[in-house]
C-alpha cells in the first residue's frame, strides 16, 4: 500500500510542464528558464561558508573557541595515561555509579579503568537501565572545527540512544579525527559509509539546549545536560 502515489506523481508532472524562472532572479523582465551555471557541488560550498584555515593549529584554536561558546567541556590529552586520569577525575567529581558504554578501540580501553557498573549496549539493552546511567561514553566519527560539532553514527557511537539519553555524554576522540568543515565531514561520510549508511547519523553541537521560554538559553532540555569531549593527541 503506497496511497495516492500515481495521482500525486501525475499532478507533479502536469504542473512541471510550464517552466519556472531561474532561482534568485527577481527581475521578471528577462526570464531565463534554466540556470546558466552548473549545479552547486559539495566542494564549492567552502567559498561561501565561514572560513577554516588548513593549518591544524588554527583549526584547534577555532575548535576551542566554538567549544567555549557552546559550553562543551573538553580536554586535549597528551597521552593515554592522561586520558585515563581525565576520565577518572570526572568519575570522582560526578560520582558516577553506572555508565552506558559500547565496544570500540578507545572505549574498551577506558572501560577497564572504570570500576563501576557498566551497561554494554552493543547486543541490545534495556532502555530503563540506560535511563539510570550517569553518563554515556561513546566514540565518534569526526569533530568539525568550523562548528564545534561531533559527528556520530549508530555504528560509531553505540546506536541511537547512548549519546542522547544519559544526562552526560562523554565522547572519546583523537586529534586525527578533527576535520576542517562541514563539507569535509560529509566527504568523510561518503567515503566511510557510501552505499551502506548507518540508519542514524547526527551532528551534535554542544549539550542539549532550548530557548523556548523568552528566548533564554537553558542547557539540558531533553538530551544531555553536559557534553564532554576527551581528545587524545595522536
Amino acid at each position: 500500500m503506497n496511497g495516492s502515489k500515481d495521482q500525486i506523481l501525475a499532478r507533479i508532472r502536469e504542473a512541471l510542464r510550464s517552466p519556472a524562472p531561474v532561482p534568485g532572479n527577481h527581475d521578471y523582465s528577462h526570464l531565463e528558464m534554466t540556470p546558466s551555471r552548473p549545479k552547486p557541488e559539495l566542494e564549492s560550498f567552502r567559498q561561501w561558508l565561514p572560513p577554516v584555515e588548513s593549518n591544524s593549529e588554527n583549526q584547534w584554536d577555532l575548535l576551542t573557541k566554538s567549544f567555549h561558546a557552546l559550553k562543551t567541556d573538553f580536554g586535549l590529552l597528551e597521552s593515554k595515561a592522561r586520558l585515563i586520569d581525565f576520565i577518572q577525575e570526572l568519575q570522582r567529581a560526578e560520582q558516577w555509579k553506572r555508565v552506558g558504554i559500547h565496544h570500540g578501540a578507545m572505549t574498551d580501553e577506558i572501560a577497564s579503568y572504570l570500576e563501576i557498573e557498566k551497561l554494554w549496549v552493543d547486543e541490545g539493552y534495556d532502555p530503563q537501565a540506560m535511563e539510570q546511567c550517569d553518563v554515556g561514553i561513546s566514540e565518534c566519527d569526526a569533530i568539525v572545527a568550523q562548528t564545534g560539532s561531533i559527528l556520530i553514527t549508530a555504528k560509531s557511537a553505540g546506536g541511537r540512544g547512548l549519546s542522547v539519553l544519559p544526562p552526560h555524554h562523554l565522547v572519546l576522540a583523537r586529534t586525527s579525527q578533527i576535520v576542517a568543515d562541514l563539507p569535509s565531514a560529509y566527504e568523510l561520510l561518503y567515503k566511510r559509509y557510501g552505499g551502506n549508511f548507518p540508519s542514524m547519523i547526527s551532528f551534535i553541537t554542544g549539550p542539549s539546549r532550548t530557548g523556548d521560554i523568552e528566548r533564554i538559553v537553558v542547557l539540558g532540555a531533553h538530551g544531555p545536560k553536559k557534553l564532554t569531549v576527551a581528545i587524545l593527541k595522536d
Partner: protein, 465 residues
C-alpha cells in the same frame, strides 16, 4: 466578498497591534535573535552567494520533483522503510490512525512537526482516545495552553515566563519559580519516561535526501532524537517539497537554516535517519514509516511564477523581520504557517478568495525577501496573489471607483472641479469622520486625511508666470 477569515484577521490584528505587553515581549525576543543572527551571518565568506546556492539546490529539486521523490522512495524502501503518499490531510491522518489501530498503540510522543499542525493530526488522534504528547518545549507549552503555535519556529514566543509558570501550575500541578531553568526541568522530567514508554514516535522532516534515502531533522533540545530512538514505531511526516538531491547539500543547507532560523551557526542536533534499526545495530525503531504529503502543494507547483515558494525551508526568518507579524502577532493570521511566507502559500493551500486578505497585510517593504535564505521572492508573490485574486473575481465597487478615478484624472476640468468641491466639503468631514456614513472610514477611523491645500500646484504655477 469578505470572508470570515478576513474579518477575524482584521479584528484580531487590530486588537493585537494595540497590545503593548505583546509588543514588548516580541520586541525583546526578536531583538536578541537579530543580534545573534547578524553575528553568525557575518562569519560567512559570502552570505549572498550561499543563499544563491541554496536557492539553486531547491530549484533543482522542486523543478524535478517527480524524479527526486521516486529516487528517495526507492532508496528508503530498499532499507525497510514504508513510504505512504497522501494526497490530502484526510489520507495522511487515516494512515497514521490505521497504523496506530493495527499496532495496538496506546501512547504517542511527538517531536516538532508543522505538517502535523497542517493536517490537524493531534485532534484526530486525541478524539480516538490516544495519549498524544508534544515533546518540544515550546510545542508542549502551547499544547497545555490549548492553542496553536504562535510562530512556526518559536511556538510559545508570545508567552512570558510568568504565564508559562501559571500554565504549568494549572495543568501539571507543578510548584516552581518562574526561572526558565526550573520550568524547563519540569518538562524534562515529565518527558523522559514518555520517550521510553510511548509505542509510537511522530516527527517531522526538515529535508528528505533523494541520493541516500534519508530524512534530516534539525533541532536543539534532543527531543527529536529521543522520539526517533526509543518507540518501536517511528512515523515521519513530510511535505513533498522537502526533498533535496544530495546528502552533501546539507553541508550548506543546515548552517543556513540555523543562522536564518535561530541566529545560530548550526543547531544542537542535526540528525539524518535512513530507515528503521538495521541488521547489526543495537537500538532504534522496528518500523519506520514516511508519510509524504501533497495537500495542494501540487497546485502551488503548477503556478510557475510562484513555484519558488516551495523552496521554503520553514526557518521563520521572514516572520522575524516582518512589521505586520510583529504588530499583529502570529495567532491573528489563523493559519498554520504565519507571516509573509504563510500569506503567500496559504491562498494556494486553502483557497485564494478566502485568504486573499493576507496579501494586503503587507507594507511591501521587502524585508522578507531580503532575509530569505533560499531567495524566495516573497513580497512580489504577495502582489501576484493580489493580481490573481482580482482577475479571478473582480470587485465591482473597486472597478467603478478606479474607472471614476481614471476619468477624473484624465480630464483636467473635471479634476479641478473635484478639488473645488472637496475644498468646500472637507471642513465638514469631521461630522462623519470614521462613522458608517464616511466613505473612507477604513482609513479615517485611526488616521487623518491630508487637507486639500488652499492653492493647487497649477494655481501656484500660474501666479509665478
Amino acid at each position: 466578498m469578505n470572508s470570515t477569515f478576513s474579518k477575524d484577521f482584521k479584528k484580531n490584528s487590530g486588537r493585537m497591534s494595540q497590545d503593548l505587553t505583546h509588543r514588548a515581549v516580541i520586541k525583546k525576543a526578536l531583538g536578541a535573535y537579530e543580534i545573534k543572527r547578524d553575528e553568525n551571518r557575518s562569519k560567512y565568506l559570502n552570505w549572498q552567494e550561499a543563499r544563491q546556492a541554496a536557492s539553486e539546490i531547491k530549484w533543482e529539486a522542486v523543478n524535478h520533483l517527480d524524479r527526486y521523490l521516486l529516487e528517495m522512495t526507492k532508496n528508503l524502501e530498499a532499507r525497510g522503510t514504508k513510504v505512504f503518499w497522501a494526497s490530502n490531510a484526510e489520507e495522511a491522518r487515516q494512515y497514521v490512525i490505521s497504523l496506530a489501530v493495527e499496532k495496538k498503540v496506546k501512547s504517542i510522543i511527538k517531536s516538532k512537526t508543522m505538517t502535523s499542525e497542517e493536517i490537524h493530526l493531534n485532534g484526530a488522534l486525541e478524539k480516538l482516545g490516544y495519549d498524544v504528547v508534544e515533546s518540544d518545549l515550546g510545542e508542549y507549552i502551547v499544547q497545555l495552553n490549548e492553542e496553536p503555535p504562535y510562530h512556526l519556529v518559536f511556538p510559545a514566543m508570545h508567552l512570558t515566563r510568568g504565564q508559562i509558570k501559571e500554565i504549568f501550575k494549572r495543568k501539571l500541578g507543578s510548584d516552581t519559580s518562574d526561572l526558565p531553568e526550573e520550568l524547563t526541568m519540569v518538562a524534562r522530567n515529565i518527558m523522559r519516561q514518555k520517550y521510553l514508554t510511548a509505542d509510537m514516535g511522530i516527527s517531522g522532516a526538515n529535508f528528505g535526501v533523494a541520493e541516500t534515502g534519508m530524512i534530516s531533522i534539525t533541532e536543539n533540545e534532543g527531543n527529536a532524537r529521543l522520539t526517533t530512538s526509543f518507540p518501536k514505531i517511528h512515523v515521519a511526516l513530510m511535505g513533498i517539497e522537502k526533498v533535496i538531491p544530495k546528502l552533501g547539500d546539507l553541508a550548506i543547507l543546515l548552517p543556513l537554516l540555523a543562522t536564518a532560523g535561530g541566529g545560530q551557526q548550526i543547531t544542537c542536533y542535526n540528525t539524518m535517519i535512513g530507515g528503521p534499526r538495521q541488521p547489526g545495530e543495537c537500538d532504534g525503531p522496528e518500523e519506520f514509516h514516511l508519510v509524504l504529503i501533497d495537500n495542494r502543494r501540487t497546485e502551488l507547483l503548477a503556478d510557475a511564477e510562484q513555484r519558488d515558494a516551495l523552496h521554503c525551508i520553514r526557518c521563520g526568518a521572514c516572520l522575524n523581520v516582518c512589521p505586520i507579524f510583529k504588530n499583529s502577532g502570529g495567532h491573528s493570521y489563523g493559519t498554520t504557517y504565519q507571516g509573509p511566507i504563510g500569506s503567500v502559500i496559504t491562498p494556494h493551500l486553502r483557497g485564494l478568495q478566502d485568504w486573499k486578505h493576507l496579501s494586503s497585510a503587507s507594507s511591501l517593504c521587502g524585508s522578507c525577501t531580503e532575509v530569505c535564505p533560499v531567495k524566495i521572492d516573497i513580497h512580489h508573490h504577495l502582489l501576484h496573489n493580489r493580481r490573481n485574486a482580482v482577475t479571478q473575481m473582480p470587485v465591482w465597487w473597486e472597478r467603478i471607483a478606479f474607472k471614476g478615478f481614471s476619468i477624473a484624472t484624465a480630464n483636467p476640468a473635471l479634476f479641478q472641479l473635484g478639488i473645488k468641491i472637496g475644498r468646500v466639503f472637507q471642513p465638514l468631514h469631521f461630522l462623519i469622520k470614521g462613522t458608517l456614513l464616511d466613505p473612507v472610514r477604513a482609513w479615517t477611523q485611526t488616521r487623518d486625511l491630508p487637507e486639500i491645500p488652499a492653492k493647487s500646484f497649477r494655481q501656484q504655477w500660474k501666479s509665478r508666470q
